[in-house]
Every structure is written in C-alpha cells, then in structure tokens.
C-alpha cells in the first residue's frame, strides 16, 4: 500500500463564501460581548470544539463557572497547544460573546482565546 497525505487548501482559494461549522448567530449573541477574568477549572478536549471551564469571581464576591467554546483540538494541536498547555488554575482572560440563551448564561465562544490565554502573573 502507498500512503500520501495532502493538504487540499490554498490561502487564495475560495469557491464559495466560507461557512462555519456551526451557526454562530444562532448559538451566540454578537450584541453581548463579554470579558471574563478567572482561572481554569477544567478543560474538555473534545471535537468539534474544545470547552474550557473558567471560574470567575463576581463583583459580590461569589464565584461562577463559565464554559468557553474554543477552537477544535486538531487546530490547537497544529498551533502547538495541547491539553497540558492549560493546566487547572491557570489565570486567563477570555474575550468572547455570550450565549444567546442568557438564562443558561454560562457560554461564550472565545474567538480570541489564544491571544488572551496568557497567565496574568
């Protein structure tokens, strides 16, 4: 048997407008950006998107855990990040959008998770 792995992509290739994997506007509310600061309490390294659980301290001192949707594990691995890159307790800043269903109110996608995924120490 012969194996050949190829990358079928070109930066300038576009046959049709790009479609994301999930209906962003149905799941998240672009009118509700949120900025979260807290520490990682759990990582779900699952497809199609990673989920990072971040505990924040609210103004009244109580704590709340938010789930943050991240890129796919495949993309993150290719960018040099793996599950151990974000150990529990890591202080992070998440810049994203809140879930459309505010009653659930614990979901944001994190479009800038990596640029903002920096320990604050």
């Amino acid at each position: 048997m012969r194996f050949l792995t190829v990358c079928a992509v070109g930066l300038l290739v576009a046959l049709q407008p790009a479609s994301a994997h999930h209906a962003f506007g149905a799941e998240f509310d672009a009118a509700r950006p949120v900025l979260l600061k807290g520490k990682i309490v759990r990582i779900e390294w699952v497809n199609p998107h990673t989920w990072i659980h971040v505990e924040i301290t609210k103004a009244d001192g109580t704590k709340e855990v938010w789930m943050v949707e991240g890129g796919s594990p495949n993309s993150l691995l290719r960018r040099g990040a793996n599950k151990n890159t974000f150990p529990e307790g890591t202080e992070v800043v998440v810049d994203g959008y809140q879930a459309r269903d505010h009653s659930w109110a614990r979901l944001v996608p994190a479009p800038r998770i990596l640029t903002n995924f920096l320990p604050t120490s």
Partner: protein, 258 residues
C-alpha cells in the same frame, strides 16, 4: 463578524487553520478554482433547479450556506428539529463539500486528505468529519437503486492520471443544488513529487446548463492526520436550538406587547 462593542472581533487563529500554501497550478497562483467556463464562474442553472428543493420538505445539506439569524433562514422551520440542521453542523459529513465529490478546500481547519492505494481500490480519507470514500478500480457502478451519500465511485488509470467517476448520489448532499443524478468526474495527476493536481468536472444537466470544471493543487505534507470524532462533544447543536427557542419567545412577547 464585528463586535457590537469593544474589540472582541471575530475568530482568531486559535480557531483557524486555513493552510500555509497558495493554490499554484502551472506556476500560477490561482484565485479561482473554476477553469471552465473560463470566466471562473459556474454556468447558469436550468430553470427550476434552484427551486427544486424549496419548501417544507427541503433538508439542509452539507454545503448549505450558513444562516446567522433564525429570521433569515431560507427554509422555514430550519431550527425546529436537530435533523433540520445542516449535515456538517450535525457532524455527519464535512461541511462545504470537503470530502466531495467534488472535494473542495475549507479555509477553517481540518484540510488534510490521506490517499491509500491498493491494487483493487483507492481510499480517500478526508480529515473534516473523517469522511471516507472508497474508489473501486476498474469496476462497474452499482445498480441505480443503490444510492450513497458520497456517491458510488469507480476509478481507472488514464496514463498517469487516476480518473474517478462518481454517480448514484442521494438527495441528501445535493452539491450546490445538484440533483440525485449528479455525475462527477475527478482526475488526480501527480505533477511532481510534492504536488497532486486535482481536477473535477460537474455533469448534471438537470441543474446546470452545461458541464463545468475546476482544478486546484494538493501539496504533499508531513503533517499528521487527526481524528475528528465531532459528534461526542457537539454542545453547539443544543445551544443553537435553545437560542432559536429564545428568539421565538422574544418574538412572541414583542408581538403580544403591541
């Protein structure tokens, strides 16, 4: 997308993996895949083809353009049932015809294909949603009553070019509005040690006024293929449906308040 306030912005490179090479064919960087018609645009659709699947029975497909707002959905009821969501969103097959045929690039991520060749068959594994196509070499097509989501592919060699002929599609994938009788001819040519030229011709008289052809290069890579078992953690689907229910509730309340 742009943020309503602040600098949140759109997806960053933690999400995207569009590749690192240009589409180069015959030494030219190409901005369009379609080479016939020469203007780079698919030919017009035949009358009625665009409306063929309209209506309540229409089901989203893998290459349906994403709607970003429940109110703008082209098909009524598209958020009423998980089975009305696009095939890619449900993690059933890749979105945007990544596995094909025709196999198209995706600027988001998971852009690798692995080709495994044996004397009897050629297997094309697509990383996006791990779609697998098995091309039976020098074989006859299946009977017309046996229909497959990715079609039935048979192959033969034309000199050094692998020619793959695919028919027997279902009405589930419907590439760009094509009919079940879509016929795709793909040609894989190894133009040098590091490059495959992938060319496809779309033949579906029930949908387009004439055949059309595209091509782009598939550069070899040493990168690893990763599994994409997408369904297990697909929290997005229930969140999308919940979001739609909220929108309906808000719309009903707004109506009641008037």
């Amino acid at each position: 997308m742009t943020a309503a306030s602040g600098g949140t912005g759109g997806y960053n490179y933690g999400w995207l993996d569009p590749g690192s090479t240009y589409n180069v064919v015959d030494g030219q960087k190409r901005a369009s895949i379609i080479i016939d018609p020469p203007n780079g645009h698919a030919p017009p659709m035949v009358p009625g083809a665009m409306q063929r699947f309209a209506g309540a029975r229409a089901r989203p497909t893998s290459d349906q353009t994403e709607s970003t707002d429940p109110g703008l959905e082209p098909t009524p009821g598209a958020y009423d049932d998980p089975e009305r969501r696009p095939l890619g969103e449900r993690c059933l097959i890749g979105f945007g015809s990544t596995s094909g045929p025709p196999a198209l690039p995706d600027y988001f991520y998971n852009n690798l294909h692995q080709i495994v060749q044996t004397p009897e068959s050629v297997v094309i594994l697509t990383e996006m949603v791990h779609d697998v196509r098995i091309v039976r070499m020098n074989a006859q097509h299946l009977p017309k009553n046996i229909r497959l989501w990715l079609g039935d592919s048979v192959g033969h060699w034309d000199g050094d070019t692998l020619v793959v002929d695919t028919t027997n599609f279902t009405d589930k994938t419907r590439f760009r509005g094509s009919s079940e009788n879509l016929h795709v001819i793909e040609r894989f040519t190894r133009v040098d040690d590091k490059t495959l030229l992938y060319r496809f011709t779309i033949d579906d008289p029930a949908t387009w006024t004439k055949q059309w052809t595209g091509e782009y290069s598939w550069p070899a890579t040493n990168e690893k293929m990763y599994e994409y078992a997408c369904h297990e953690g697909n929290y997005a689907l229930p969140n999308i449906l919940k979001g739609a229910r909220l929108r309906e509730k808000e719309a009903a309340e707004a109506k009641g308040a008037k």
